[in-house]
């Protein structure tokens, strides 16, 4: 992040009254239509989805409302249609496979993957917790939980974990998507409110982005964590519901009683659903960056592998071993570096921060010598030398490795010399590979070099099977276990904060 860039954005947005694009391309795959999920929890209850809405983005949604989500029977009964539908969609998408040829090896991966779109990162975390809860359920009273709940739990857990992979598009939190694509007057803390970000991007006519964002922030409720005003209403409705059902959990009794709670959550979901559709529509209109299909292929591969494993009854650890943790870290770091590189190389707007921070240089090729010879060990080899005249003065150490953005997947160039040249600098660079036409710019071309590249840094050996004692815990991590003990306990009574001397202690 370039501070000059952020300051420039803040100044111009304040002056112009609307948000500015950070990118000229869309760097996230958006399928049409993705599956939207909008969740509302009961306050403070991390595992209790009081309402789940799901359906195609831009289309109608289905709503699952438990009534009393702290009652296991009611909760699972309400979640079942959602779980079954999710499993069905995932299996259906994974069923169509295409062959992929890599050298002499052919593998098969799903032709598509089910993309899930949620309003914010908090919903990603909420789905992950819900997935953890459902993925390993214990029997209750000798009755095994419905397999669809368990399978859906495992899928949700995978989606939430995969959401950490930079550039992935299996689970897209829209607040993050907007923060990557737009600059607003909102600080990172405030960008968690999707409605406020959207209102700054597209304020009503004659309204400044700040005022529009503030109005949205003050009035919009996005979830999944409810605000006080929402749960005051929920509390009243729930009290009436629980009194009327008198402990009953049968659908025949519950059905007629649940309508007011359902209507309450429908009022909350409707605006969020419309907001999600509007945001996705706007971002989808932007052309996709060239690397988007490659990243989605990686997603499809992970999706296919996971679905095969889960539908075959496979289990995953809930706590990584030290070796797994090291491998996970690497799996997250490498995509991050590549994602950042691809974004900046393909998108001129995303390259600007690197130019400002001195990690990239742009200029006109003043001369090219592709017959230059250097002695490499024992024999002289042909190399290419170019002189690049930059618009701005640059400071680069000799020997610095840079990649031309047109060949960022290929060999690097090295800085041989930097001299002052009018208002800018003249940089002499040498290509560290045999000069071929594809590797060489033309004289007079305006080109960009940067520290970013998309080639692999080499094959990395897997970590040893037996980690050294410094990375070995005293006890191996516990195998996956149910976490539902106590979920059938009587729910805690709601407490009005106004009746407490210091309600802040429960924040």
């Amino acid at each position: 992040m370039s501070t000059a860039m952020e300051a420039m954005f803040a100044g111009r947005i304040h002056q112009d009254g609307h948000a500015l694009r950070r990118t000229t391309l869309r760097h996230t795959n958006l399928t049409d239509p993705a599956l939207g999920i909008c969740l509302w929890r009961l306050g403070g209850e991390r595992f209790r989805a009081a309402a789940v809405a799901w359906g195609p983005i831009g289309g109608p949604y289905k709503l699952a409302v438990a009534g009393e989500p702290r009652n296991r029977d009611l909760y699972f009964s309400a979640l079942l249609p959602f779980a079954a539908d999710l499993c069905k969609r995932i299996r259906r998408v994974a069923a169509t496979q295409v062959a992929r040829q890599r050298g002499r090896h052919t593998d098969y991966l799903p032709a598509d993957a089910l993309q899930i779109v949620v309003p914010n990162r908090t919903t990603v975390a909420a789905l992950g917790l819900l997935g953890r809860y459902l993925a390993y359920l214990s029997d209750r009273g000798g009755v095994a939980p419905d397999p669809a709940l368990v399978e859906a739990g495992k899928h949700l857990r995978f989606y939430a974990r995969h959401a950490r992979v930079p550039g992935q598009a299996l689970l897209v939190p829209l607040d993050r998507l907007l923060a990557e694509h737009w600059a607003t007057l909102l600080s990172p803390f405030e960008q968690a409110n999707l409605a406020a970000v959207d209102a700054q991007i597209d304020p009503p006519r004659g309204v400044h982005a700040f005022d529009s964002g503030f109005a949205a922030e003050a009035s919009a409720r996005i979830g999944p964590e409810p605000t006080e005003d929402i749960d005051r209403i929920t509390d009243e409705l729930l009290a009436r519901f629980n009194e009327a059902r008198g402990g009953a959990t049968e659908p025949a009794t519950i059905g007629p009683l649940i309508a007011p709670i359902e209507a309450h959550y429908r009022r909350l979901v409707d605006p969020v659903w419309a907001l999600m559709a509007r945001v996705v529509d706007r971002e989808r209109a932007l052309p996709a960056a060239p690397s988007v299909p490659r990243r989605f292929e990686v997603d499809r591969e992970a999706f296919g592998r996971r679905v095969d494993w889960v539908t075959g009854g496979g289990r995953y650890r809930t706590t990584d071993t030290p070796r797994q943790a090291a491998m996970t870290l690497r799996r997250l770091e490498e995509p991050l570096a590549r994602y950042e590189a691809e974004k900046a190389i393909e998108d001129p707007a995303a390259m600007v921060p690197y130019l400002l921070d001195g990690e990239a240089v742009r200029g006109v090729v003043a001369s090219l010598n592709d017959q230059y010879r250097v002695r490499f060990r024992v024999k002289a080899v042909r190399r290419a030398i170019i002189a690049l005249d930059t618009d701005d003065p640059v400071i680069l150490p000799l020997g610095k490795k840079l990649w031309w953005t047109a060949t960022a997947h290929d060999h690097h160039w090295e800085v041989q010399d930097v001299t002052a040249n009018g208002a800018g600098s003249r940089i002499t660079l040498m290509l560290y590979a045999a000069p071929t036409p594809a590797r060489l710019p033309g004289v007079g071309d305006r080109i960009t070099f940067s520290v970013l590249h998309t080639s692999s840094d080499g094959y990395r050996l897997p970590p040893p099977q037996n980690p050294p004692w410094t990375h070995t815990s005293a006890a191996p991590p516990a195998p996956p276990e149910p976490i539902d003990a106590g979920d059938g306990d009587p729910p805690a009574a709601a407490v009005d904060g106004a009746t407490l001397p210091d309600p802040g202690v429960y924040a």
Binding site: M8, A10, A349, G486
Partner: protein
């Protein structure tokens, strides 16, 4: 606890920042779900039920010391719910802590211990959930939280950070309390205890975490709080929050009154900390927008713009306006940022806006 003059004056004058702008559109929505509060109350009640049986179990399992026969003194009961009660509880806490260090034979738990601190020269009282004392004569600070831990990880990392900050504050104040009593302050352990529910139920589990780094940070923060006496001498006598807090007045009058007061006193708006804790945050943000304060977009932007007075000026400089001598260090990068951005992003066509 930061360097905002408006917040400091409100603190010195014992003004509740959450109430000043009540009823206006700038009132901060800090209210909590009754279910969330109910969960917190229920978890604490569970720990205290049947003679603190659950608390004894979790301390025994977590600290490796038998607390089944420990003396547990509940300082929440038997004292008035006011400043007098807090003073008495702080006094009892202090003497009990000294006694425990002097005779460390049996484990003891002070439930609802109150620690006194001077914040900006004013007395303030902090209530710790538990101060558990092990048989070794070491005092271990404990805090209860109702968010669950699953697979050894918190379900809310921000909440974990806040809870550890809270525990670190008690460690610091506990050490000061012992120091005042002439006892070695290092007898308060650096390893604080968090008691949280495990998994989906409310079964308690104990976690220990070293909070030394946080203790040092909180010590710095507390020492940076401006002294009330200094504030009192520097604040004009006619500065008051009364007009802003007067609910009988029209909203605009109250908001204007607040803006005038904060303009006179000065403010330090920092989105992340202000919006999560200060009742003036939205009002200060509004003032920051009105004046084009670079702090509006966060500390990173504000710190990048020394010498530039407003966001409007930032915009001008980004379009290549001539800079003054003070602005010169940042004018170059801003102009370059603007030029490169204009090259990269073509001027958009007029957008179809939503109707107002």
């Amino acid at each position: 606890m930061h360097a905002c003059p408006t917040a400091a004056v409100a603190f010195a004058a014992r003004v509740d920042t959450n109430r000043v702008l009540t009823g206006t559109t700038l009132e901060m929505p800090f209210g909590q779900s009754p279910f969330a509060i109910g969960r917190g109350v229920a978890f604490e009640a569970l720990l205290r039920r049947h003679g603190h049986a659950e608390l004894r179990r979790v301390l025994t399992e977590g600290l490796g010391v038998d607390f089944s026969q420990a003396g547990i003194e509940n300082l929440r009961e038997g004292y008035q719910p006011n400043t007098t009660g807090l003073k008495l509880r702080a006094s009892v806490t202090r003497s009990r802590m000294a006694e425990i260090i002097a005779s460390p034979a049996e484990p003891v738990v002070l439930d609802g211990a109150v620690l006194r601190a001077d914040v900006g020269g004013l007395p303030a009282f902090f209530e710790a959930d538990e101060m558990a004392i092990g048989v070794g004569g070491e005092i271990v600070v404990g805090e209860n939280k109702s968010w669950p831990v699953v697979d050894g990880r918190p379900t809310d990392e921000d909440a974990l950070g806040s809870a550890l900050d809270q525990a670190a504050t008690y460690v610091l104040l506990g050490r000061r309390t012992l120091d005042d009593a002439g006892v070695d302050p290092d007898r308060v352990s650096s390893n604080a205890v968090l008691v949280t529910p495990r998994n989906t139920g409310l079964t308690a589990v104990l976690h220990r975490q070293n909070v030394d780094g946080r203790v040092r940070r909180i010590e710095r923060l507390l020492s940076a709080v401006p002294h009330v006496a200094d504030i009192a001498t520097s604040v004009p006598a006619d500065v008051t929050f009364d007009v802003a807090a007067d609910t009988s007045l029209p909203e605009q009058e109250r908001v204007d009154a607040f803006a005038e007061v904060s303009d006179r006193l000065g403010r330090v708006y920092e989105p992340a900390s202000c919006l999560s804790s200060c009742g003036f945050a939205w009002a200060c943000r509004q003032c920051a927008f009105a004046t084009g304060d670079p702090a509006l977009s966060g500390g990173v932007v504000a710190r990048a713009l020394p010498g530039v007075v407003s966001l409007s000026r930032v915009a001008e400089l980004s379009h290549g306006a001539p800079a003054s001598a003070v602005e010169a260090p940042v004018a170059g990068p801003l102009a370059r940022a603007g030029r490169l951005y204009d090259e990269a992003v073509p001027v958009p066509a007029p957008r179809r806006r939503r109707p107002a």
